[in-house]
């Protein structure tokens, strides 16, 4: 049977990874290629790179990172951050990424999902969703609202509606980030994850809030997620991917256990 996927996420600014402490093998924690390689060897099932570069000259720097990562690791990886147009997607995919992730660009221009899916195939298009819990209303019947700009701008769009719409438009996968849980290390947003994951037929990656292996167990079981994104849990050496997978395995979750 299909294994649940454990996916480290690396933020990259100006071609350098931004979080982490020195590991005992002396990996250059500022080098996204070295970090990608490290997680690949440590048993990551996929890797996500988010380009958080602010400058307008971001593209060539990130594409260079993508090319070098693709030469080094032989598991799927996806790239997000500032992907707005078909050309952005094409550049990243041709540089060697398996998937591209669109977030605010899709909220503002949903047709980009359809265009991307038609041009490159559904499996290449991941919809990133940043979501906040709000009061239930006519406009937001699920009680979860779409946000952009790091959670600062409320879009007046119901998250459940948006997930289904994106699936209809051709998104191959959803990466669901709870802004409320993000950075708290107190666990993923289980109710939200379960709601979205059981309402669409495409895979859902849970994101935001992981602090310990129990959180992954909860979101993969109760949250019905197909995969879990992790960041500070592993970037600061608190847990290794092997430890996380062993814990999950012992608790009955099917994970890839040899690599």
């Amino acid at each position: 049977m299909l294994s649940k996927r454990i996916i480290p996420c690396l933020d990259v600014r100006d071609g350098k990874t931004t979080k982490g402490i020195k590991f005992k093998d002396n990996i250059d924690i500022g080098d996204p290629v070295a970090m990608g390689r490290y997680y690949y060897e440590q048993g990551a099932d996929e890797i996500v790179f988010y380009d958080i570069t602010a400058s307008s000259e971001r593209r060539p720097i990130m594409l260079d990172v993508v090319r070098r990562v693709a030469e080094t690791i032989f598991i799927p990886f996806s790239v997000g951050g500032g992907i707005r147009t078909l050309e952005d997607m094409r550049d990243v995919l041709l540089a060697g990424a398996e998937k591209v992730s669109v977030n605010s660009a899709a909220v503002l221009n949903p047709d980009i999902i359809r265009q991307g899916a038609e041009a490159f195939g559904n499996q290449c298009i991941v919809l990133g969703m940043d979501v906040k819990k709000v009061a239930v209303s006519d406009k937001i019947p699920s009680g979860y609202e779409m946000v952009i700009n790091g959670g600062r701008t409320y879009m007046g769009i119901d998250a459940l509606w948006w997930a289904r719409e994106a699936e209809r438009l051709g998104a191959g996968e959803i990466c669901l980030n709870s802004i409320d849980a993000d950075g708290t290390k107190t666990g993923y947003e289980l109710e939200l994850t379960r709601l979205i994951s059981t309402s669409v037929r495409i895979p859902v990656i849970a994101s935001g809030g992981a602090g310990e292996p129990q959180h992954l167990l909860d979101v993969l079981n109760q949250g019905c997620a197909d995969a879990a994104l992790i960041a500070s849990m592993v970037h600061y050496g608190t847990y290794t991917i092997e430890e996380i997978k062993n814990f999950l395995s012992r608790n009955g979750v099917k994970v890839r256990s040899s690599w």
Binding site: S3, F74, P76, E98, G121, N122, Q123, I202, A227, S258
Partner: protein
């Protein structure tokens, strides 16, 4: 020189990068001359059967693949490169190459996991392949190794003897086939870490005899 068929079917560079990493000279090409001079051919594929068959036709690679097969050249098909080898695919109701008898079907709707949840489509992620016999291309791959899959359709060979590997996802389906000088897999060995690289390595050393 290994020819990696270029028929505009998505990202081919992953395969080339894996072969480069393993140290086997290869070239992404759709030139008939170059392909006919190659020692082996890798037939990759991402995307849909219909579009792929269309591109193969436009480039004359459909007839070329038949020639290569009859000439006993070792051929490795990957993902859509496995599917279009069959007679037809339910995806876009596509008539395919017909090198292998059988058809390609969509996973049934509403398959459920052991815990009762609906299984998502596409089948996306890591899953185990149990290889049937001692085929040289699958040598040395530890039992229970998982490979990376991303697909909504699966092959249903007419002749069970060509099934070389099986995988479970709601149903048990053929995930690898082997027939004469042809090996084809539903998963992506170039994206499956060590076991995938081992498979590619084995193929690069294979003389095409089962």
């Amino acid at each position: 020189m290994i020819a990696v068929l270029d028929y505009k079917a998505g990202n081919l560079t992953s395969v080339k990068r894996a072969l480069d990493h393993l140290g086997f000279p290869c070239k992404i090409t759709n030139s008939h001359d170059e392909i006919l001079k190659a020692d082996k051919v890798v037939f990759p594929g991402v995307g849909a059967a219909g579009k792929s068959m269309e591109s193969l036709g436009e480039l004359g690679l459909d007839r070329l693949l038949w020639r290569l097969f009859e000439a006993r050249l070792p051929i490795l098909g990957i993902c859509v490169g496995l599917q279009v080898l069959f007679d037809m695919s339910q995806e876009n109701k596509t008539r395919c190459l017909g090198i292998l008898p059988g058809e390609v079907r969509r996973f049934p709707e509403k398959m459920r996991s052991g815990t009762g949840d609906f299984l998502k489509i596409p089948h996306m992620g890591w899953n185990a392949v149990s290889f049937g016999n001692d085929h040289p291309v699958f040598q040395g791959i530890p039992a229970g190794s998982e490979f990376y899959f991303v697909h909504s359709y699966y092959p249903q060979p007419a002749n069970p003897d060509i099934t070389a590997g099986m995988t479970e996802y709601g149903i048990t389906f053929t995930s690898a086939v082997a027939f004469r000088n042809l090996v084809a897999v539903q998963f992506h060995p170039e994206k499956s870490g060590k076991p995938g690289l081992r498979l590619l390595h084995n193929f690069c050393l294979w003389n095409g005899v089962s």
